[in-house]
């Protein structure tokens, strides 16, 4: 039987772990525990709660107000994995620099990033937004409409991404995607990227932006992007949305064209 003194000697290790990974504990608490408790208490999903909050606090038709309210809710009340204000600014800058006309968004979730992109797109541009979960899609649609974007601007598809991509050309007559924004399941980044490569929708200079490539992380995706030689890869380093101290990054891939 180990003596208490030896057990006490492990105290520094415990303290170290707690202090070093405190942000992860905070994340665990906010993203899992609070959500679970609130789900039990309120009986409706997290996304619905977010929508209700936005409905009561934001100005309809004003995308900025909706985004601000969203940020407020995510940082003060509960946690939803959006792109967040900091990485959102990087995204805004990319959009301003490139002025894409056809945008494919994989993973709408609550529509935060859709609203964010739609407000800074040029006139005539179109966003194809893909969401797998129906309930999330319903919330996202409501929020997008609330922000004042119509069907012409944002096309929401409730289907898995790997079904949508091969049919994009036939169903919607898309010839070329100027920008692809990925924020769905991190494991799907790589297969979807390969699907996109195979579909021929990417042209020279097409931009692929992938969120959360460092935390939770998509190592295979990054490895492929770096090694295939098809892309110019840049990783914008930032922190995880709404939580300080967890490093995260947004990958910016510029398609160089198939040679």
């Amino acid at each position: 039987m180990a003596s208490p003194a030896i057990a006490l000697a492990f105290l520094p290790l415990l303290l170290t772990l707690i202090i070093r990974y405190r942000y992860y504990f905070v994340l665990l608490y906010r993203a899992v525990l609070i959500r679970w408790v609130r789900d039990c208490l309120s009986g409706i999903s997290r996304e619905e709660r977010a929508y209700q909050y936005i409905l009561t606090h934001a100005t309809p038709g004003d995308p900025q107000s909706i985004l601000d309210t969203f940020d407020q809710w995510c940082s003060k009340v509960e946690f939803i994995s959006n792109i967040g204000p900091k990485k959102g600014k990087i995204l805004d800058r990319l959009l301003q620099d490139h002025c894409p006309l056809t945008v494919l968004e994989l993973g709408t979730h609550c529509g935060y990033s859709t609203v964010r992109m739609a407000r800074s797109l040029p006139i005539g541009a179109r966003i194809y937004s893909v969401e797998m979960d129906e309930r999330n899609a319903a919330v996202a649609e409501k929020i997008i409409r609330l922000a004042g974007f119509d069907d012409d601007m944002v096309e929401l598809m409730v289907r898995p991404s790997d079904e949508v991509i091969p049919r994009l050309r036939e169903d919607f007559g898309v010839e070329r995607l100027d920008l692809v924004f990925m924020d769905h399941w991190k494991r799907c980044y790589l297969p979807d990227l390969q699907l996109l490569e195979g579909s021929g929708l990417l042209g020279e200079g097409s931009l692929i932006v992938a969120d959360n490539v460092i935390f939770p992380g998509a190592p295979n995706f990054l490895r492929h992007a770096r090694r295939s030689g098809l892309y110019e890869v840049r990783v914008h380093r930032a922190t995880l949305e709404y939580i300080r101290g967890i490093r995260d990054g947004m990958a910016e891939l510029t398609f160089l064209g198939i040679k």
Binding site: S3, A5, A9, L15, I19, K186, P216, G217, P219
Partner: protein, 975 residues
């Protein structure tokens, strides 16, 4: 005479082309190329037309009007030998298939492109020249152009490529210009006339040509070789790009190789060849020997490999480990050779004395498996520990003074360690330049931060990132040094962090103290009643605390917001304090244990007399003359022997420490790496990049661990002679294990710190530890009397009495007298005083030297700046003069003499004018055939055709920076 000079020119060409060829092609087919190249070369400027035609002919496209006509016309002037060569060449050429030629040409073109790239940045002038040559070409080609477009473009390409290297060779520096000028002046006029034939003579081997050369030409060749040699010697100091230097070096080397052997004749040549072969063999041997020497340095290749992957900081740890290994080797040699082996060979064997026998009550467990790590049982009663040694003055037939040797080895190991550490420190101290290098902080960062030993892309990325961050930090620091906002918060946080660290230290100290007291309680009751955990509690707790507390310190130190370098120093200091605290707690506990043992010893002593009395009284009541009763040594009561106990404690500590290190390595590094690597495929976040990730190699922790380990060795080696051997084994294993672990499961550090700077820091710590570890050892030796029945000093009141004893018995009486006089305080005190004075004097002189050095440094800086200013002024002045001169030239008529006068003023201007002139004149006189027919090629005609070459002849003065020029000219003119 004309022929002669032509000869010379041909040879000059030859030399030149050899360079060209070597530049273009890589040695293979060298001779083969020479033949081809000199055609294209010879024609490249003057006879582009002919070349093009010939190539076409070679390709089999034109057969009728061949170049042979022309060639025959050209070779009119040349002698028979050349003709022969020509024919030979021609036939050879025709024999070759067009296919091979095309291939070759492709290769040539490729090579030329390379050359072109190299030279493209050099000057624009050559482009102009090439243009003119192109123009010529086009003119001559005329209508055929369209027909043979492809061929022609190739030709042009060829010319283009060929032209450049030549030009770029002569442009960049004066020296080079000089060489090239010389070549041009002599070779070019003639080469115009009969370049083809001359060059074809080149087709032969160089030796063949040389054999027919006159002594004067040989002289020139020698001269050229001398020049090459000189160039090679001074190449390092030339302000050229490295690429060019390499090219020129290669050229020169090959030139020398080609002609040096050829210069000798007959026997001399053979001798020369022999010499060359021997030289090459010797050089190869030397290289192999160097490799062998490197291979002889233990683990050199391993460390180099690690260095290339992890940078010099990690490698510094391994170098330190190797150094430590060397030290321990010597310590081990001393103890093993002078203490353990003599005792094992010549001392009384096991079982003869009570101290050399396992006592009866321990016999049952003396061969247990636990002996391997507890070092009890038979291990305890062996040469490995102090208690086994006998106090017999001299042992064996050698009369080996065992106690004396034991004492002197104990002192000698420590003295040697002091010496080595201090010497290393002093050597390292020389490397520190001194002075404040912070003046050029950013320059230092920008130009000197790269670690050139890194050979791994990932590490290079990390290093790149760390350099960028360090520059960023430096900028931020620089900005913050001007404004310090919120200093109070920072101060508060720093105080708080230190408070936390102190709490942590105190806590760990108390825990160790608590554990030690508990273990004493156990010891009093008897350790046999407790399990393994209780028995090893102290060591376990010490190892665990030593492992985990640094992590906590690291986390706490993020509060302080220090610069990484300062943070590292704090961290090292804290870990140092922790280890030291642990070690001293351990020692204090040991002291307590020693006191306990000594009390026990007194009891045993009294019991002993009673026991002896009982023995004698009980068994042999009356007869005192009877032989003494033989009691088995295992049954004899004995004292606790605190020295062996101390030695055993240290051995156990070392073993548990080693085990902890290895287990941490295995779990913390290896299993973690395995988990991260293979679990990453089925995990919901990125394990490699995110939470657990791979571990970094903790340089500071490892170095400190090593240092403290060594401290324990120094402390315990006196009471356990086996400690150096154990440590040697440990270091050996950890060298391999850690090398493997680093390469297999660690990732390069993100924060890389300079290794060389911290090296002496480690040494200083080692010195401190050495001092601190010798303190308790000396204390025990001096102040505690040795056990009465074990060890080499048993029966003496103090351990150092052995010296006195030796002096009295083994040395003549007068020596003892001298020694006693010498140790008289009246002599010792003045001596000490003198020592202190000498120390003070040396220290102050070294200080003065340092100051003088600093001043010199400053002076040098100031001088540098002044020189810069001066140079600037001079440059400005020269520029203005140049302007004036050009103006003057513009006003005056363009007579050669005027130009010649200006030449002396500024070479740059002059060369430019040469170029312009040359192009113009060539443009005016495109056909060179006229000059060929000219029976008396005097300098004036050349002046009109090729100003750059001829000007220097016509002009009375010599080229700037080339004093030999006029003599040489006269020389060639005379011919």
């Amino acid at each position: 005479m004309v022929i002669f000079s032509r000869f010379t020119s041909s040879w000059k060409h030859l030399r030149y082309f050899s360079i060209e060829v070597d530049e273009g092609n890589d040695n293979e087919f060298n001779l083969y190329y020479v033949g081809v190249e000199d055609h294209s070369e010879g024609e490249k400027e003057q006879q582009v037309k002919q070349e093009g035609k010939r190539r076409r002919e070679r390709n089999g496209k034109i057969s009728g009007r061949t170049a042979s006509e022309k060639r025959s016309a050209v070779t009119k002037n040349s002698d028979k030998r050349e003709k022969k060569h020509d024919k030979h060449q021609k036939t050879a050429r025709e024999r070759r298939g067009s296919k091979t030629h095309e291939k070759r040409r492709k290769r040539n073109n490729a090579d030329e492109e390379v050359v072109e790239e190299e030279c493209s940045k050099e000057k624009n002038v050559k482009n102009e020249r090439t243009k003119t040559s192109k123009l010529e070409d086009e003119k001559e080609q005329g209508g055929k152009k369209n027909k043979k477009k492809s061929v022609k473009t190739e030709d042009v390409d060829r010319n283009h490529g060929k032209m450049k290297p030549r030009d770029c060779n002569d442009v960049p520096t004066k020296e080079k210009t000089k060489n090239r000028k010389k070549l041009e002046t002599i070779s070019e006029p003639e080469s115009k006339s009969d370049s083809e034939s001359d060059l074809e003579s080149r087709d032969d081997k160089a030796v063949g040509v040389l054999s027919s050369l006159t002594p004067e030409e040989l002289e020139m060749l020698k001269e050229a070789m001398e020049e090459k040699k000189k160039l090679m010697a001074t190449l390092r100091g030339k302000p050229w790009p490295m690429k060019k230097k390499l090219i020129i070096l290669r050229e020169s080397q090959e030139f020398l190789e080609k002609y040096e052997g050829a210069l000798g004749k007959g026997k001399g040549r053979k001798l020369y060849a022999y010499k060359v072969v021997m030289m090459k063999k010797w050089m190869k041997f030397q290289r192999d020997f160097e490799n062998f020497k490197t291979a002889c340095i233990p683990w050199e290749m391993k460390i180099k490999e690690i260095e290339s992957h992890f940078g010099s900081s990690v490698a510094s740890y391994f170098i330190f480990l190797r150094w430590m290994y060397g030290i321990n080797m010597i310590l081990f040699g001393l103890t093993f050779g002078l203490v353990m082996v003599p005792e094992a060979l010549m001392g009384k064997p096991y079982g003869t004395l009570p101290r050399k026998t396992v006592p009866r009550e321990e016999e049952a467990s003396a061969m247990n498996f636990a002996v391997l790590w507890d070092f009890g049982g038979y291990a305890k009663y062996s040469v490995l520990f102090y208690g086994y040694y006998n106090n017999q003055r001299a042992i064996g037939w050698l009369k080996f003074r065992m106690p004396l040797s034991y004492f002197l080895v104990g002192v000698g190991t420590v003295a040697y360690s002091y010496m080595v550490v201090i010497r290393t420190m002093a050597r390292n101290a020389n490397e520190e330049g001194g002075g404040d290098d912070t003046i050029f902080n950013f320059s230092w960062k920008a130009f000197t931060s790269w670690d050139y030993l890194i050979g791994n892309p990932e590490t290079a990325d990390n290093k790149f990132a760390s350099i960028t961050t360090s520059i960023k930090e430096a900028i931020v620091e620089d900005q913050e040094s001007r404004k310090d906002d919120n200093i109070h918060l920072t101060r508060f946080l720093r105080v708080l962090a230190n408070f936390l660290v102190l709490c942590c230290l105190a806590g760990s100290g108390y825990l160790i103290y608590f554990v030690v007291r508990r273990s004493q309680k156990f010891a009093l009751v008897g350790l046999e009643k407790y399990g393994w955990w209780e028995r090893n509690e102290v060591n376990m707790v010490m190892s665990l605390l030593g492992m985990f507390c640094p992590m906590l310190f690291d986390v706490i130190s993020t509060l302080e917001n220090y610069h990484p370098r300062i943070a590292l120093q704090w961290q090292l200091g804290r870990i140092f304090a922790l280890f030291l605290g642990n070690l001293y707690t351990f020692i204090i506990a040991l002291m307590d244990a020693i006191q306990l043992k000594r009390a026990e010893e007194d009891i045993v002593k009294t019991n002993m007399t009673i026991w002896q009395a009982n023995l004698y009284n009980g068994t042999v009541p009356d007869n005192s003359t009877a032989p003494p009763i033989t009691v088995h040594p295992a049954d004899v009561p004995r004292g606790p022997c605190w020295e062996t106990m101390v030695g055993q404690e240290f051995v156990r500590l070392i073993i548990s420490d080693t085990m902890t290190t290895y287990i941490t390595l295995l779990i913390g590094d290896f299993f973690r790496a395995v988990l991260v690597r293979f679990l990453n495929n089925c995990w919901c976040w990125d394990l490699e990049y995110g939470f657990p990730s791979y571990s970094e190699f903790d340089v500071s922790g490892n170095v400190l661990g090593l240092i403290f380990n060594q401290g324990m060795i120094w402390m315990g080696a006196f009471y356990a002679p086996c400690l150096p051997a154990l440590n040697l084994f440990r270091l050996h294993v950890s060298m391999y294990l850690q090398c493997w672990a680093v390469m297999c499961c660690n990732v390069p550090q993100e924060r890389v710190f300079k290794a060389s700077g911290s090296n002496n820091f480690y040494m200083a710590m080692l010195l401190v530890i050495l001092f601190l570890s010798t303190l308790p050892a000396i204390y025990t030796i001096v102040s505690i009397p040795p056990s009465f029945d074990c060890g080499p000093f048993s029966g003496k009141s103090r351990m150092f009495d052995v010296i006195q004893e030796t002096l009295e018995t083994d040395f003549p009486a007068w020596f003892g007298m001298v020694f006693s006089y010498a140790s008289n305080p009246g002599l010792v005190l003045p001596f000490l005083l003198l020592l202190v004075l000498a120390l003070y004097y040396l220290q102050s002189t070294s200080k003065t030297y340092k100051r003088v050095n600093m001043e010199l440094k400053k002076k040098l800086q100031v001088q540098n700046e002044e020189n810069k200013k001066k140079n600037k002024l001079a440059a400005l002045k020269a520029a203005s003069e140049l302007e004036q001169a050009t103006n003057a030239v513009g006003k005056h008529s363009n007579t050669d003499s005027d130009l010649g006068m200006n030449e002396n003023d500024n070479s740059l201007n002059e060369t430019q004018q040469h170029r312009q002139k040359g192009q113009k004149s060539r443009y005016v006189h495109p056909s060179q055939g006229q000059h060929n027919k000219d029976p008396h090629p005097i300098s004036s005609t050349h002046t009109t055709t090729r100003p750059p070459a001829s000007r220097s002849r016509a002009v009375p003065g010599h080229l700037p920076g080339n004093p030999q020029q006029p003599q040489r000219n006269s020389h060639s003119n005379r011919r």
